[in-house]
Symmetry: none
Subunit: 233 residues, 2 copies
């Protein structure tokens, strides 16, 4: 949650409390907004235990599924996009084996492209074409409602456990290092290239064991490439 | 809608606009609240055409179905009560032939017994026992969302097409070549190791574009590692 309006933080916390979700993490809030939210009706517990994170990467580090929310609109999206009623069962199934982060951007700007590059996929609420943008607190309420809706229905748990965002981020960084060491021609430090690689790695749906396996391979390649470079130099 | 808080009226109007509901009737609002709501983002049309009614009876006069909303709680209800996901299809079916009023009470007190007496039945949102009461704007948003949910919309197809087995196999082979060139310690030609790598690559669920992207990266690494080896040898 990246929120600047205390009413929005409070409303989000209240909906969380209504539907039984307890872990609110706020990325880099204006202090005033965070303090102002503390009066939200009935949401004292959620707000008292809310964590203030400096970066999105920190906020999602222990989550093995990261889902962004968007009002779509004019932007070209690089991600798979699901309507909330189709996405919620996938999230529910994941929750049987691992933690999931549901990201909300600011009401005015939504999630940035960089924020989205941390996501496995995106979810949207089917609003009218002529008025896509929802109030943040209302959007949070609908997404959480959809998660508990029909919660009697049995869910197929996912096989194995998905790699955490921290593990996936290590692979991303090591892949960058490998590309750099290899002299990969299209390599550059632009946000768009970095985002493309980050999204690629997230689309791999890595399991915990696979993540370690792949990381070991990449590290060996990096070691080989940088070692040879030194030997030559 | 019996609302005393302009933010709640505005939030309700915004959700109506998001989901395509245009007839807002406010029963006996404090003038100040009604005026204050007029700034709600994107809901100008709904608010401009909102009607101010003196009584609930007047507000629902032309509706052939009247559904009240309640957070239940301690009150003995005299009405049939439906969860919103069960009630919404009934309302949708009714809308094909006549108008329906969906009533919301004030956030603090809900609908009075007298208000409820105008209702055909009641609907509630399945919130937690320990925190039943929702923010009014969020409750409105969820009820309206449920009314448009699943309204025959085709499911969003997944983006892209899955990589062919040939593409996946090329990646597998190139990954083997990269591991070999890197001197990966566990590399051997046993069926079990080869099988493990092959399964790993298949678990990645690669899309066509991603497969090419990844193959290009791996080939560059192989080129770099073998070229250096030749320079040294």
């Amino acid at each position: 949650m990246d929120a600047r309006n205390p009413l929005n933080i409070g409303a989000a916390a209240r909906a969380m409390s209504n539907f039984g979700f307890h872990h609110l993490r706020v990325v880099n809030p204006y202090d005033v907004a965070f303090q102002g939210a503390r009066s939200a009706v009935g949401a004292a517990d959620v707000l008292a235990s809310a964590e203030n994170c400096e970066t999105l990467a920190e906020a999602i580090a222990d989550c093995s599924l990261v889902v962004g929310t968007t009002a779509i609109g004019h932007r070209d999206l690089q991600h798979s996009l699901q309507r909330v009623e189709a996405g919620a069962p996938v999230i529910r199934a994941h929750l049987a084996s691992g933690a999931c982060a549901l990201l909300f951007g600011s009401e005015k700007f939504g999630l940035s492209n960089k924020d989205m590059s941390h996501c496995h996929w995106l979810m949207h609420i089917p609003t009218r074409e002529e008025h896509l943008s929802m109030n943040l607190g209302q959007a949070v309420a609908i997404c959480l409602y959809e998660l508990i809706r029909d919660s009697g229905a049995p869910v197929e748990p996912e096989k194995g456990s998905a790699a955490s965002s921290a593990e996936v981020e290590r692979i991303t960084a090591t892949l960058f290092a490998a590309l750099q060491a290899s002299g990969y021609p299209k390599l550059n430090t632009s946000d768009s290239f970095e985002g493309a690689v980050r999204r690629l790695v997230r689309r791999l749906h890595l399991q915990t064991g696979d993540a370690e396996f792949l990381l070991g391979m990449l590290r060996q390649m990096v070691w080989k490439m940088t070692k040879s470079g030194q030997a030559k130099g």
